[in-house]
Structure formats: C-alpha cells, structure tokens
Amino acid sequence: MKTRFKTAVTPFMIWVAAMVLILIGWQLVVWLTGLPAYVIPPPAVAFGNLFDNWPQLQRLTGQTLYETAIGYVLGAVIGFLLALAMGQIRIVQRLVMPALIISQAVPVVAIAAPLVIIFGFGLMPKLLIVAWIVFFPVVVNVLDGLASVDRDMLNLARLMGGSGLRAFAIVKLPACIGPLFSGLKIGATYAVTGAVIGEWTASSKQGLGTYLLTANAQMNTAGVYAAMLLLTVIGVGSFLLVLGLEIFMTPWRCRSTSPAWMQAQRTSPAKSLA
C-alpha cells in the first residue's frame, strides 16, 4: 500500500516542481530584462488579471473547452474508424492514404476559410478544424498498430479456428489500443490549437481565442497572458485525462497481473464471451 501511494504521489510532485520552475523562469526573465508589464507581465500580474476577470473567463473557458472536446471526440472517432477500414481493406488504404497526406499538408489556417464559406460562422467549422488536426495522428498510429500484429499470430488464430469478427476482436483490435492512445495524446495537445484557430476565423461566439485577440488589440497584455494560461490548462488537462484513460484501458502495459475487476469478470459464469 505504501509503495502504491508513493507511485501515485511521485509523478504529481514532479509536475508541481516543473510548474514552479516555469513560474520562477518567467519571473526571472521579467527581472533580468527589466521589460515593462505591458510587454511581459510578471506571473503575479497575469494571475491577478485571471482572478479579477474570472466570471467572464470562466464562461469563455467553458466555450473553448466545449469546442475542443466535441471536435476532439469527432476527430478521434472518425480517425479510428477510418484506420480500421484502411487496415482491413487494402484498396481503401491505397486510395485514402494520398488524400490523408495532402489533407495534412494544407495549412490548417487555410482550411478555415473554405469551411466558413461552406458552413457559415458557428460551431461546425470550429469542430471540423479541431477534428481535422486530431484525426491524423490517430489514423497513422492505429494503422501502425494493425500492421504490427505478428503474421504467425494471425496464422495461429486461423489454425485455432478463429475467423472473421471474433479473431479481429481478439487478436487485432487490442493491438491498436496502445497506438491509438499514442495518437490521442498527440491530438490532445493539438486540439486546443485547433479550437483557437477556429475561433479566430469562424466564431460568432466568444471563446478564449477571441478574448485573446481582443485583449491583444486593447494592449491588455495581462489579459493575453491570462487567456494563454487557461488555454495551456485545457491542453495539459486533456493530455492528462487521456493519459489516465490509457492507464485504465491498457493494464497489461503497466501491471504484472490483471486488475481485480477484470478477474471477477473472467471467473463469472454469466459472462461467456471473453
């Protein structure tokens, strides 16, 4: 129990230490350069602005978080399903792969304009921009996962009489979960960027991205930093959330035995499909 407590607390302490270091570095830059607060506000001023405008910023954070989350899930689901289709059907992979690479070569900012022309100002173009960014790392990683399944393993499954959906679900699908989360983690940090770009080009509704632009235009540097801080929190928060989900979903990567709730399921006579 003691070691378990320790393994849970140590990474947390490292995170706290890293954040303290960043704040110290920030403050040092302000002191050493002697730049005025309207160029680089010290941490205290930025956080002061954040707390002073909290009711408004809270609402904006909620809006940006909403766009990020929905777009993220949309991109992840589309990416995962597309990768499965591409991995299973060769011709689909051949046809779709060039289009995928081209889609990522187009700058995201450039995609925003046609999306607004098609869908108008509103939620849809923002969601699509976030999804656009997220789905690519998901597709690439899941495809790698599918390709990594040992040929001999597939042969063995065939010799054991496994075919079709069952063999796919038992032998291939779980091999994608690890790579899927690699893609999801990359996507988690990028998604918020997508939301901000979306707000800059396609927003009729205020979010942190639009607030950042307004604060910048008003020379409200502390406001710019406050928005930046909150956007960072969204990015880091999504990453940690996905990381936690990954640890929960892939127990075989970090444990030597299956978790108790899985063992209960395994020995329960009611569950026949393992």
């Binding site: 040992d150 001999d152 393993m153 042969n155 063995l156 499954a157 065939r158 010799l159 054991m160 009489g161 496994g162 069952r166 063999a167 038992i170 032998v171 779980p174 091999a175 979960i177 892939t250 127990p251 075989w252 444990r255 030597s256 035995t257 299956s258 063992q263 395994r266 020995t267 329960s268 006579p269 026949s272 499909l273 393992a274």
Partner: protein, 267 residues
C-alpha cells in the same frame, strides 16, 4: 476432464505393445515446389496414435514447410495428409500447432491465453476457464493465472503456449522447435516437463528440432531429414525405456544413436 486421466501406466499405446498400433496421421508422398526450388521431395510418414515423433534436420531441410502443409497453412504441390482416416489436405485447424515464438497475446492473462482457442471459436465459458485453471495448476502455473505474459519468464511462457495448444483439444500436435529460444538448462527442464504432459494427456506429437540430443531424449522415432531437396534420409527407433530420466543422456544406446544420426547429418 476426460483428457486429464493418467495414462502413464498404459504401456500398450507404445509401438510394439500388446495392442495393435493404430495409424493416427498419415503423410503420403508430399512434395512442395516453390518455383524451381524443391522444398519437399516425396515425403511419406505414418504416425501411430499416441506416438512421439521427432523430425530432425539442419535448416533448409523442409521441416517447417512440412509442418505448414500438415497444419493446412500452405498447399502441397502433390501428395496428401490423412488424419484419423480423413483427408485433411489444405484444411487448416485440424491439428494443434506451436512455434518457437510463444505468440502470447500481451493483453490477455495466462488464463486468457490458455483459453484462446475457445474464445476464438465460440467464446470461452466458465467450464473452459475452470479446465484451463486446472491445467495450469497441475503444471505449476496455478499462481500465475492472472499474470500478463510480460511478467513471465521465457520458459513459463512456452509452458503457457503448450497448455494453450493442449486446451485447443486437437489429438495431433505439431511442435516446431518450441524450446529453440530457451537456454540449455531451461530447455532440459522443459523437455522433461513435455514428456510428463505427453504421458498424462495421451496426444500424438510431431516435434521439429535441429538438436540431436533433444530428439533422442524425447522421441519414440526420429525422422532424419536432409536438405536440397528436403527429404527423409532415415527413420530410427529410439529404444530407450520410459519414463526417461537424465541418466539416459549418457547411456550406450543414446550415444550409439547419436553417432548414427551425426553420420547422416554431417557425412
């Protein structure tokens, strides 16, 4: 639970015993050509029910090609495979198959890996899991049912792979250098363990190896194969008493057989 019955006292199933031997697997005039290369040339072999046959040869002698054809994974150019009186040529899934790679599914526990065949065909039931747990307990893995494969040693993983093959329920099992990746001490332990399992389970085993000592220690008969083209050079009976202990490794019969085989392999 029928298959867990102890057959160790049943001497009749050995070749030359009191009951007449019944042919379980018949490999008839198998030839395999890959383009201009002849991988297997006119290979014929009858294997008796409950027999342990080792197929011995240097790399390139067609051992693995032979197994791929017998298992139904690949096609023979000519010839056929008859199992229990039925032609099973090109019909995969009729025999058990185990490789040097343990091929554990990392996301399934020991229990989940042993019940793999059931999960793949119809879904593992509580009965399957109970039988797998019995099997694991009987062969020293009872404490590790809920362990993931990465937490086990190479030898333990091969034992799990063996139990998975047994649990799949096929009467004839093809083992393709299953202990090839293990260190010498572990391998010797695994060979003794395999003999015990084979004695208990009453299965027919075809075992590929390039290790002469391993072949003599395990087999009722040794099929010596030579390469280019892959064909059977000689079939030798191993008249060592069972159960075999480590002492047989230095007996006169053992050394004599080894000399005879070495002449075939390295003449």
């Amino acid at each position: 639970m029928d298959e867990l019955r102890d057959y160790s006292t049943d001497a009749g199933r050995r070749m030359g015993g009191s009951t007449s031997p019944q042919i379980k697997l018949s490999i008839q005039n198998l030839s395999v050509h890959f383009g201009v290369v002849t991988a297997l040339s006119d290979v014929s072999l009858d294997v008796v029910d409950g027999e342990f046959v080792c197929i011995l040869g240097a790399s390139g002698c067609g051992k693995s090609t032979l197994f791929n054809v017998v298992s139904g994974l690949s096609r023979a150019t000519s010839g056929r495979v008859v199992l229990g009186g039925q032609d099973v040529s090109n019909r995969p899934g009729q025999v058990g198959y185990m490789l040097q790679k343990d091929l554990m599914l990392p996301w399934r526990t020991v229990l989940g890996n042993i019940t793999l065949a059931a999960s793949l065909t119809r879904g593992a039931t509580a009965k399957d899991r109970a039988e797998a747990a019995d099997l694991a307990a009987r062969y020293g893995l009872g404490e590790f049912l809920n362990h993931y494969p990465h937490a086990l040693s190479g030898g333990m993983r091969q034992r799990v792979a063996m139990m998975r093959t047994i649990a799949a329920g096929r009467q004839v099992m093809l083992l393709d250098e299953p202990f090839g990746a293990l260190d010498a001490q572990t391998r010797l332990g695994m060979q003794q363990w395999l003999l015990q399992v084979w004695r208990d389970m009453h299965r027919t085993i075809l075992f590929v190896t390039h290790d002469v000592d391993e072949a003599i220690f395990l087999a009722d008969r040794i099929v010596v194969m030579t390469p280019r083209p892959g064909r059977i050079a000689e079939i030798l009976s191993v008249d060592l008493p069972r159960p075999r202990s480590l002492e047989v490794l230095t007996s006169d019969i053992f050394v004599g057989l080894k000399r005879q085989i070495m002449q075939h392999l390295y003449h």
